[in-house]
């Protein structure tokens, strides 16, 4: 059985979808991700779909579900790397993916996640370091 790997990076979970998803695989990913959010106390989920060439209404619904499920588990979801042709198709299909945060690439997605959950624990430390250096 195929499985899509979920990587943990600090407070975040990273998912890169590299294969064409069929329904069972997408449903498994949905379940696995919610489990992982609970297990790892993740605050954010980043899903990279840059290698996905087809997003139909079923896949769109799964993406929306993942975002809503993570939300009620207190984690934010950002979908990154959508191909232009996929974006055009989704809108014509009538699926604007409302309620799903998106970013152009992984880097911007990470920034968005950090700004959404507020990295308050790290910032004061950095400030202190700066003060120390200037003194």
């Amino acid at each position: 059985m195929d499985k899509i790997p979920i990587l943990r990076m600090g407070n975040f979970l990273l998912v890169t979808i590299q294969v064409d998803l069929y329904d069972r695989l997408a449903l498994n990913l949905e379940a696995d991700l919610v489990q992982m959010v609970s297990k790892t106390n993740a605050r954010g989920v980043l899903i990279d779909i840059s290698a996905v060439s087809i997003v139909d209404s079923f896949m769109g619904r799964i993406i929306g579900n993942i975002a809503s499920m993570s939300k009620i588990m207190d984690a934010e979801t950002v979908v990154v790397g959508m191909q232009p042709a996929v974006a055009i198709t989704l809108i014509e299909l009538g699926l604007p993916l409302k309620g799903v945060h998106t970013a152009l690439n992984v880097e911007r997605g990470m920034d968005l996640l950090k700004s959404m959950i507020g990295t308050t624990e790290e910032e004061p430390e950095e400030e202190q370091d700066d003060d120390y250096l200037t003194e």
Binding site: Y22, S53, I54, F58
Partner: protein, 137 residues
């Protein structure tokens, strides 16, 4: 007058067949030099209809054809199942209507993504959906 240049009939009974069929459609679309956006629209529409066929029709056949009209080339897909059929076609074509628990975008969405769309259904006998996308349409 639309002429069919090549024919390929593929049986779809399992979920995994969807990925296989999407790849076949892609091959054909690339062969007639269809642009990437149109390819994506065609394959997405095909994916919606395949899912319907598996879910409501219990599987069936997909006929993949390269067609030509004058100087235009296109891909025509015909999905045929022997499922229960659709009692109310206009209701089935309405955005947001679904007898399953899905978004109800499949049929109307697929229609928006292609150039020609034809839905025929008889209760108790089955459903046939034809879609056609021109390479530069």
């Amino acid at each position: 007058m639309i002429i069919s240049l090549s024919k390929d009939n593929i049986q779809v009974i399992r979920e995994q067949d969807v990925v296989l069929l999407r790849n076949r459609v892609k091959e054909v679309a690339v062969k007639i030099k269809m642009g990437l956006v149109n390819q994506t629209k065609l394959i997405t529409a095909a994916s919606e209809l395949l899912r319907n066929m598996l879910r409501y029709g219990g599987g069936g056949f997909c006929l993949i054809e390269i067609v030509s009209k004058g100087r235009d080339n296109g891909v025509r897909l015909t999905f045929t199942d022997k499922g229960p059929g659709i009692p109310d076609l206009s209701l089935a074509m309405k955005d947001g209507y679904s007898t399953g628990r899905s978004l109800g975008l499949g049929l109307p969405g697929a229609k928006r993504l292609v150039n020609e769309f034809d839905l025929k259904s008889k209760v108790g006998e089955g459903t046939t959906v034809m879609i056609l996308k021109w390479a530069n349409g």
